[in-house]
């Protein structure tokens, strides 16, 4: 296949990828969008086979490896529980990053195959693009691995900080830039390997200081990085499909990071430079005086909700941990039978990744037109009888509106306290990830339900 013809096909793939994202503007068109994406991928792969034109023994191996990788991927996709989506996505990001690194290594070892020159005399522009792609790929890989370990609970979610951290990162960043320069001058393989190793290190150092609650930003950011890595390789290979995709994914991840930061009223740099949890531990311990709390049980909750005319459910990460979404749906069904109007309110940063709660509710067969975003529903709390907060905490804290001293001041929160009564399902009075006490626990109209989210919801279903 001629280079021009294949370039046209790559352009078509690129357009199909754009349509895949476009489809996600509404759930009705989203499934079609996903097929566009699959079609674009199929075209890219077939065109590459045809343009390389090597159907020797190597081709058979490629097919075998494709099949092995594909089966592993399909197996994971069907087996993974929806609650584990954040770590799955982090894991997948690491694979894209590592694949980019491998392609860059291969191009460096054998530039003839990619028309980039010969070993020891690779074209300058290609070398720069290649080292950019490899370096970002390596950062994506090791960063995503750390994010995966934190989300999976293998590594503690609390931020790991040490003195001089930012200076070390700065020095390593500058080292990467100067190594790229020396690589271009000397074409030395040793410098290329050093560049990769330092990039892997930067990925680790970049993610360890970021705490559990900031994971939505981290995942979005790594999403963005994996796109830029792909684009870097796309420039090296002079491949339009890769360049378009890289740009799409890169900007998509960047926008999601922005939305997540805005949902917490924090700047991007503030998140990157270290978590909340690390700085605010002290302020919670001194605030230990006992305040009166109204303690309720499942029967009280069932009674309150059964006699309400409208209930708003506020899910958070705790619902995901307890896998309470199905029990919650049963409870809502029972309430609806009693003529109660029920809707769901989702805070932008509820959960561990953008849209996490929406997916879990969809899994439990909650129709998506009963689920609302913060801006859509926040005014409704004033007219609602019961707010059922399940596994959320910081995103309901009224202190964000009233106390300029609070670390979460200015963060958009759900106005849960405006409803006639608040049911708060929580295991204990411990503060949330921001490490601050929630004023809501001690309000007159708040009834605390101390239990595991799933168990409590099931008990409420029983007494309904």
């Amino acid at each position: 296949m001629s280079a021009n013809l294949s370039a046209l096909f790559y352009l078509i793939s690129g357009i199909l990828f754009i349509l895949a994202l476009r489809g996600l503007s509404s759930p009705e068109t989203s499934r079609q969008g996903n097929f566009f994406g699959i079609a674009g991928m199929a075209i890219s792969i077939i065109v590459t086979f045809l343009s390389v034109g090597n159907f020797g023994p190597g081709f058979v191996y490629v097919l075998i490896f494709l099949l092995i990788g594909g089966s592993i991927g399909a197996f994971i996709a069907f087996r993974i529980p929806m609650t584990a989506m954040p770590e799955l996505v982090a894991g997948f990001h690491s694979l894209v990053g590592l694949a980019a690194v491998f392609v860059a290594i291969s191009a460096f070892l054998k530039p003839e195959a990619f028309n980039l020159g010969i070993v020891g005399n690779i074209k300058l522009a290609s070398l720069i693009e290649m080292s950019l792609g490899a370096s970002i790929g390596a950062i994506t890989f090791s960063g995503s691995i750390i994010a995966f370990l934190k989300l999976r609970g293998i590594m503690s979610g609390s931020p790991i900080t040490f003195r001089g951290q930012h200076i070390i990162n700065l020095i390593l960043g500058l080292t990467i830039i100067s190594l790229t320069y020396y690589l271009c001058v000397s074409q030395s393989a040793n410098i290329f390997w050093t560049l990769l190793i330092i990039s892997f290190l930067v990925g680790v150092l970049l993610i360890i200081p970021i705490g559990g609650a900031d994971m939505p930003v981290v995942i979005s950011m790594l999403n963005s990085y994996s796109g830029w890595a792909a684009a870097g390789i796309g420039f090296t290979l002079e491949n339009t499909a890769l360049i378009i995709t890289g740009a799409l994914v890169g900007s998509s991840g960047a926008i999601l990071s922005y939305i997540m930061c805005k949902g917490m009223n924090r700047s991007f740099f503030n998140v990157i430079l270290g978590g909340w949890g690390a700085t605010d531990q002290t302020s919670t311990s001194q605030n230990k005086e006992q305040k009166p709390v109204k303690n309720g049980n499942a029967d009280d909750a069932a009674f309150l909700m059964k006699n309400a005319s409208s209930v708003i459910i506020v899910p958070g990460y705790g619902m995901a941990v307890a896998q309470a979404q199905h029990a919650l749906r049963e409870m809502v069904d029972a309430l609806k039978k009693n003529g109660v109007k029920v809707s769901y309110a989702i805070h932008p940063v509820a959960g561990r990744m953008p849209g996490h709660m929406n997916v879990l509710l969809a899994e439990a067969n909650v129709p998506y037109d009963e689920v609302f975003e913060l801006e859509e529903i926040n005014n409704d709390f004033a007219n609602c009888d019961v707010a059922y907060v399940i596994g959320a905490n910081d995103v309901t804290n009224p202190v964000a509106k009233s106390d300029p001293q609070s670390p979460i001041y200015g963060m958009p929160v759900l106005d849960v306290e405006k409803s006639k009564s608040v049911l708060f399902v929580k295991r204990s009075l411990s503060p949330g990830y921001a490490g601050i006490d929630n004023d809501l626990f001690y309000r007159d109209n708040t009834l605390m339900l101390f239990a595991d989210a799933k168990k409590m919801t099931e008990e409420i279903v029983k007494s309904l």
Binding site: L21, P27, I76, L88, V89, V96, A99, F102, F235, L242
Partner: protein
């Protein structure tokens, strides 16, 4: 004077960033998780590079170091392509409207 092809690629790249910007803002927030998994799947189009690395300019020995890196990258990208698209499909199947 002729324009360097790099400039064309740079133009495509920058225009695509703009397209990405507008397309992603129109994605409904409730589909942000599928957005991440599908962007993850399409970024595995890096498999194009992996296939070239594995097959192009092959001499007698198909298992030279550079080819091996190509094969490894193919496995990684394939996990992502199949895993990414299928898990997205699985999620999107769950988004249903209220039964009337």
């Amino acid at each position: 004077m002729e324009i360097d092809p790099f400039i064309f690629r740079l133009s495509i790249f920058i225009l695509s960033i703009f397209i990405g910007y507008y397309v992603v803002w129109s994605v409904t927030p409730s589909l942000h998780t599928p957005l991440m998994s599908v962007t993850n799947a399409i970024s595995s189009v890096i498999i194009v590079g992996a296939i070239i690395a594995a097959l192009a300019g092959v001499s007698e020995d198909i298992f030279e170091t550079s080819n091996i890196f190509g094969f490894l990258a193919i496995i990684l990208a394939a996990v992502n392509i199949f895993g990414g698209f299928l898990v997205t499909q699985r999620m999107l199947q769950m988004y249903k409207k209220k039964k009337k």
